[in-house]
Amino acid sequence: METAYFIETIIKIVVILLVFSALAGFGTYFERKILAFMQRRLGPMNVGPFGVLQIAADGIKLFTKEDIVPTNAVGPIFKIAPVITAATAFMAAAAIPFLPQFTIFGYTVHPIVADVNIGILYILGVMAVGFYGPLLGSLASSNKFALLSAARAAAVFISYEVITGLALLGPLMMVGSFSLIDFNNYQAGGMGDWIIWSQPVAFVLFWIAAFAETGRTPFHLVANDHEIIDGFGTEYSGMRWGLFFIGEYANMFFISFVIVLLFLGGFGDGSVFGALMFLLKMSFFFFFFLWTRAAWPDIRPDQLMWLCWKVLMPLAVLNVVVTGFVMMF
């Protein structure tokens, strides 16, 4: 049993790593295509059919580019920072059930690496650690734009961790468990059981916070090209920069999974249909990240802070109080 469990876990980890690394690549492809379509362009077209192999071209390019560590950079930290981003993103994936459990050759597979009973807490924690990637990378770069990026990253992450946590309190109170499997089972009764209906404010707040956590438009200010070049990535080249990228896209996928699991019923009853719907719902949220990038402008750091502390946090607290009252009576 121990050995089988060990092997199964290893296999799951490898599968997740491979699948999401690849998905991160495809994520870039989708992003470029969708942004292009929305702007009446074609996007990548020349490498492979419809430009599909553009990912491979980019990969080859990233792998073969010269790795530069600037003279005044703090070497070890500079080198470890991208690893932190990518690693934490994948570590967070450990507590996410990607599919309902299924049976293959008589063997029941749980598509989750570790169904820990503090799953959601673990995910949020590890994702928060991911913020050390940009922060350390920035500070170690010895670059003024990276430094600005670090300051912004610190402000954004600390602020929106608060929103994430407070927004989740309501659903947690209702479900009474930190395990995402429990969350899923809580909503398995069909669409009517989805937490989104009972906790719409929490859903919206969590969603907004997800943009901040992943650093996507309109909260892309950690690496706003037109203000601070590439922010923390300014001094990075080659695959080191690529790791930041993979981390960002993996995060987008995982946060999409988490949103669906928390508020939109996850994989429901565990049927094949439920599994498909699960992937579809997740895809919508991923798509939405791209959609907003095409449609919305970025906002200023001060506006972001204003929104966090003056609007979202009071709303989140109110939501917790109201939830409490409702549950009391």
């Binding site: 379509f37 362009r41 959609w291 449609a295 919305w296 609007v311």
Partner: protein, 206 residues
């Protein structure tokens, strides 16, 4: 005497300006709150989302896939120079007057001339240093014979810039000119329509 105010506004025309309609900024806290609220409700974010989604669904793509597809170039476009020949006779139009050489502001044209067997001026060599040419079009504009023109060949990638300045290459091929396959040049420097009506004719005794 012009007053200081007049002086400062000396280049500002009285009419022909639109005033942009800007709401006055909110001053009190209540007004600010109202503004936030109204902006939130108005749902402009969703308009943006809708617009891009609509465009994606329409799939009205404007991209020109350049090496495979090419847009037609306007006749007044100023790409790499061409030297023209006269129709049918195929004689080079260039008379070697040297005006292009003189007017060239980046000093990149040079020509050698000499007297030929028929006592006419002949251009024995002609070069344009494209490394210095800024494609301003003065040479084409000053040319009295429509001999040097800017062609439409804008794809100038080569291992050697000199590849574009070989006089033989710039010159319209002789056979094409003789066969009349080269259309009368319509572009930069060409005669404008109805030019005849504007010219006073000179009396002739023939």
């Amino acid at each position: 005497m012009m007053s200081l105010e007049q002086f400062e506004n000396r280049n500002v025309s009285e009419n022909g300006y639109y005033k942009v309609d800007i709401e006055s900024y909110p001053e009190t806290g209540w007004e600010k709150a109202k503004q936030v609220f109204s902006r939130t409700i108005r749902g402009e974010l969703f308009v943006g989302l809708w617009v891009v989604m609509r465009e994606m669904l329409k799939f009205d793509i404007h991209t020109v896939q350049y090496p495979k597809e090419k847009l037609p170039v306007g006749p007044r476009y100023r790409a790499v120079h061409e030297m023209q020949r006269l129709w049918e006779s195929g004689t080079e139009r260039c008379i070697g007057c040297g005006l292009c050489e003189k007017i060239c502001i980046s000093d990149c044209i040079r020509m050698d001339t000499r007297i030929d067997e028929n006592s006419r001026k002949e251009v024995s060599e002609y070069t344009i240093n494209l490394g210095r040419c800024i494609f301003c079009g003065y040479c084409a504009e000053v040319c009295p014979e429509l001999a040097i023109v800017h062609g439409g060949r804008y794809e100038n990638t080569s291992e050697q810039r000199a590849h574009f300045t070989d006089y033989e290459d710039m010159l319209t091929p002789f056979d094409m000119a003789v066969k009349g396959q080269v259309p009368e040049y319509p572009g930069f420097g060409a005669v404008t329509p109805h030019e005849d009506e504007r010219v006073k004719s000179t009396p002739l005794a023939y």
